[in-house]
Every structure is written in structure tokens, then in C-alpha cells.
């Protein structure tokens, strides 16, 4: 089987957080994932997309978020990319530390990146201040007994 790629752009609106979760779950179905894997991937995508909505375009600014994914059936792996063209992250190592947040007053807990790391197999973040941020995550989906 060949790999399968999808790419989707949408506005940085809170309503699109659940939209992105539904999209990634529907795309992932082709690899016959367990329900647990689907939930893990939805959670990680929700974190990345929410970060783009909340942090990339601050003060109600509107921008575009891109969600791209590739299914690699040979390796039974999904590769997901969430990118924005927003403000960027000045210090990525600091941003990825658990409990680090620039929005404590908004009751954010600084756990988004930690959750992505915990629910996926790999996580890589690249960013340039003033240009935007790209989050790339992979997860192995094969080697399980599908529940449906």
C-alpha cells in the first residue's frame, strides 16, 4: 500500500478545535486503529490546534491553521503536522517544559506539549518569531487488534 496524504486549512477559531479532532479521527480510520489510539491522536491534535488558536494569533487576531497528515501503511504509522503563521515561540525548550505557560491568568496549565508528548510516539516543534510554528508528531498505529 502507498502512503496517503491529506492537507487542510481552516481559520483560527475555537469552533475548529473539535472540527480538527473529527477530521483526524476520520482520516486515521484507514489504518484500523483501536479506539484508544484514536483518542490519543485526537487529544494530541486538539492540543496543537488549540495552541495555534490561543497563542499563535493573540488578542483575537485571526489567522490560518494547517492540519496535514500522512498515513504510512508500510510502517503502520501516522505523521501529523499542525502549523500556523503566527507570532512564533521565542524559546521552544522553555515552552515545552511541563507547567510552563504564558497565559496563567487565562487558567492555562502549561500542559499542552506534555500531553502531546505523552499521547504520541514523537514530537518535534520548530518555530520562528514573527513567522509561525510547526508541530510534527508521529504515532505507530499497527500491531494492535482493532476493536471495530
Amino acid at each position: 500500500m502507498e502512503s496517503n496524504v491529506m492537507r487542510l486549512q481552516f481559520d483560527s477559531r475555537p469552533e475548529n478545535e473539535s472540527f480538527a479532532r473529527v477530521v483526524i479521527a476520520a482520516f486515521l480510520v484507514q489504518l484500523n486503529p483501536t479506539l484508544e489510539t484514536v483518542t490519543d491522536v485526537k487529544t494530541a491534535v486538539s492540543e496543537a490546534v488549540t495552541n495555534a488558536v490561543v497563542h499563535a494569533y493573540p488578542r483575537g487576531g485571526k489567522g490560518t491553521i494547517t492540519l496535514a497528515a500522512e498515513l504510512l501503511p508500510g510502517e503502520q504509522t501516522i505523521r501529523i503536522e499542525v502549523s500556523d503563521e503566527g507570532v512564533g515561540i521565542p524559546d521552544i525548550d522553555q515552552a515545552m517544559e511541563p507547567l510552563f505557560t504564558t497565559q496563567p491568568e487565562m487558567e492555562r496549565s502549561g500542559m499542552g506539549f506534555a500531553v502531546m508528548q505523552g499521547f504520541m510516539d514523537s514530537l518535534a516543534v520548530t518555530s520562528e518569531v514573527g513567522k509561525g510554528t510547526r508541530v510534527v508528531m508521529t504515532k505507530k498505529v499497527g500491531g494492535e487488534t482493532p476493536e471495530n
Binding site: S18, T43, M111, A114, V115
Partner: protein
């Protein structure tokens, strides 16, 4: 599609100083404000000392939910109150564990 419903605070019961409330649907950044407001209304009365949140009907939660829980914990701890949760899915339980929420929130049955 039931699965995509935004989280809301459902049925709530009050016994003495304890409020028990059920959260239903998906708790994310988009639905957090509404859930926050409903929970704050339920514990607005200074006599409320304990908030029990039943998460059995919660189909999804991400890190936005952590902030919602911690915020309510702050309010209650100022009056020597506490928060307990029950009915967590394995996914939500993992998020609670990862974030250290169990240091301030009791898991009950």
C-alpha cells in the same frame, strides 16, 4: 452527532455543604468558558465546601480542562474546601496523572 457535543454542566445535587455535578460532552478550550461559568455558579455560595465532579458523561478532555479544575480548586481551597472527581475515562485519567492534578483533587467512587 452526540460525540461532538460541547461540554456542559448537567445535573447537580446539593447535600449540606457538598455540590455534586455531572459534566457531559467534550471539554476543550472552546467549551471551557461555559463550563467554568456553570461550576462557578454552583460554588458561588460560601457555604459550599466540597465539589464532586462526575466525569462519567465526559467523552473528551484536553489540557484546557486542567485549568478549569485548578481554577475551581483555588476558589474552594480559599475557604478550606476541596474537589473530588469520579467516573474518569482512561484517557482523562492519564491527563490527570500527567499534570499532577491528583495532588490537589481526590479520586472517589
Amino acid at each position: 452527532m452526540n460525540e461532538q457535543r460541547y461540554a456542559t454542566a448537567g445535573k447537580a445535587t446539593v447535600t449540606r455543604d457538598t455540590v455534586t455535578v455531572q459534566l457531559e460532552g467534550e471539554l476543550d478550550h472552546c467549551s471551557a468558558d461555559r463550563v467554568r461559568a456553570s461550576l462557578d455558579a454552583l460554588i458561588a455560595d460560601q457555604h459550599v465546601k466540597r465539589l464532586v465532579i462526575d466525569l462519567n458523561g465526559l467523552s473528551f478532555m484536553d489540557s484546557s480542562g486542567i485549568g478549569v479544575i485548578i481554577g475551581r480548586y483555588r476558589t474552594l481551597s480559599r475557604r478550606n474546601g476541596s474537589i473530588a472527581v469520579r467516573g474518569l475515562s482512561p484517557q482523562v485519567d492519564r491527563i490527570f496523572q500527567m499534570s499532577g492534578l491528583y495532588q490537589i483533587v481526590e479520586k472517589c467512587r
